[in-house]
């Protein structure tokens, strides 16, 4: 092999190893990657701070059903608020309780890197009967 080709090969191998180092250590082995590398993780933690919220309404003498809570807040569907944790429902529950007569249950399910965490254990809790939240 000519010297110039040997030099190119050395550069090629070094560069290829450099590109693999970050992801192999971080993603492959779960180690800390050196500061001068990048692990090539795309949108790795984006969206993990999001929770979905479901609202169930049981009118007096009626049956329990899921309601379109975004519409009850007076917003179009694409302007639904972001919920980061169950406690965030406090901002919206008073409005829902004013709009709905009867029992209102709110269940939140928050994102996790492997799917979702367990839903909040609030399916049977009437949020409108809670202090400062109700009608």
């Amino acid at each position: 092999m000519q010297p110039v080709h040997a030099l190119r090969l050395a550069v090629f191998v070094t560069a290829a190893l450099y590109m693999q180092a970050g992801p192999a250590l971080k993603t492959g082995l779960g180690q800390r990657a050196p500061w001068f590398t990048t692990p090539w993780r795309m949108y790795h933690s984006r969206g993990l701070d999001q929770c979905k919220m479901e609202v169930f309404h049981t009118p007096p003498g009626g049956e329990r059903r899921e309601v379109d809570w975004v519409a009850l807040l007076g917003r179009p569907w694409h302007e639904a608020p972001h919920i980061g944790e169950h406690a965030d429902i406090r901002r919206y529950v008073p409005t829902l309780c004013r709009a709905l007569e009867g029992q209102v249950n709110v269940v939140t399910t928050c994102a996790a890197s492997r799917g979702y965490k367990r839903p909040s254990l609030t399916a049977g809790l009437d949020v409108c009967s809670l202090p400062k939240m109700g009608r």
Binding site: H5, R8, F12, M19, P23, H78, A80
Partner: protein, 277 residues
């Protein structure tokens, strides 16, 4: 070891790397020009970075003193990413999108990317014409284009491995992104939407596992390159990836046979297809 010899001795038309140089330079402007305006920061070091950026990237795009320009842009991006990006990162310069800009510029700097579509070529042609010599060839060593291929393959492969650890195939991680960017806490739950996200998540992971090796196989390129381009265009439209998608599409030129790119441009311009040598 014949393949190693072929790898390091690989030569061809420089038109594809010339196009990549222009595309990558324009995307550097798109990504950094606003952040590096002098009015954003009057500290001396930032003013120096700003001046070097505008001068060197302009030379890169127009192809003037190209080897020097590429070396300066490469060094500048290294300073921006590995020094400023790591130390505080006020502008998001340590982000992997910026790493792609840095690495692709490094690898392009190792090619004779100024021999086509450049002021350098125009000057060389003028010199040759005055001396009664034939026009200089658009030809040179292209081993570093394989590094660009390895870079893209690395990015796809490890991104797929990361997604495999994150339940992309169930669609749940895509649901999180939908909530983050579109629906907030009111995630639609009809069965077809859930199934669509699961199918999309699975398809993306499978594609990212196929692209790293498939893009190097010439017979698969007519299928995989359009699929890859559509994937990146969808990313570009649906999630905020900034210049990342367009840079990746631009770098796909590294996979194409350079002489085919040369002949295609000849036929596109209506020139008689001649030898690329």
């Amino acid at each position: 070891m014949g393949w190693l010899q072929r790898l390091v001795a690989f030569e061809g038309s420089t038109r594809a790397v010339g196009l990549m140089r222009i595309g990558a330079g324009l995307l550097l402007w798109s990504r950094f020009a606003r952040e590096l305006m002098p009015l954003r920061d009057l500290e001396l070091d930032r003013l120096v970075i700003s001046a070097v950026f505008y001068v060197s990237t302009t030379a890169m795009v127009v192809g003037f003193a190209t080897p020097v320009a590429m070396a300066v842009v490469s060094a500048l991006l290294a300073v921006m990413v590995l020094h400023y990006g790591i130390a505080g990162d006020p502008e998001g310069w340590s982000h992997h999108h910026v790493h792609v800009h840095m690495l692709s510029t490094w690898w392009l700097a190792l090619t004779p990317c100024g021999r086509s579509f450049s002021v350098d070529r125009w000057l060389a042609q003028r010199r040759a014409s005055r001396g009664g010599l034939p026009a200089p060839r658009e030809w040179g060593p292209l081993w570093a284009t394989r590094l660009i291929g390895v870079q893209l393959g690395t990015l796809y492969f490890w991104s797929a491995i990361d997604k495999l650890q994150q339940h992309y195939w169930t669609g749940e991680r895509l649901q999180h992104l939908v909530m983050n960017y579109y629906t907030g806490a009111s995630l639609p739950d009809p069965w077809w939407f859930t199934a669509l996200l699961a199918a999309t998540g699975t398809f993306v992971v499978v594609l990212e596992l196929v692209l790293p090796w498939g893009l190097f196989i010439r017979r698969l390129q007519p299928v995989l390159i359009p699929i890859g381009i559509v994937l990146h265009l969808l990313f570009y439209v649906l999630i905020p990836v900034n210049t990342f998608s367009l840079l990746m599409i631009c770098l796909y030129l590294a996979y194409l046979p350079p002489d085919s790119v040369h002949r295609f441009i000849d036929s596109w311009l209506g020139h008689e297809a001649g030898s690329t040598r």
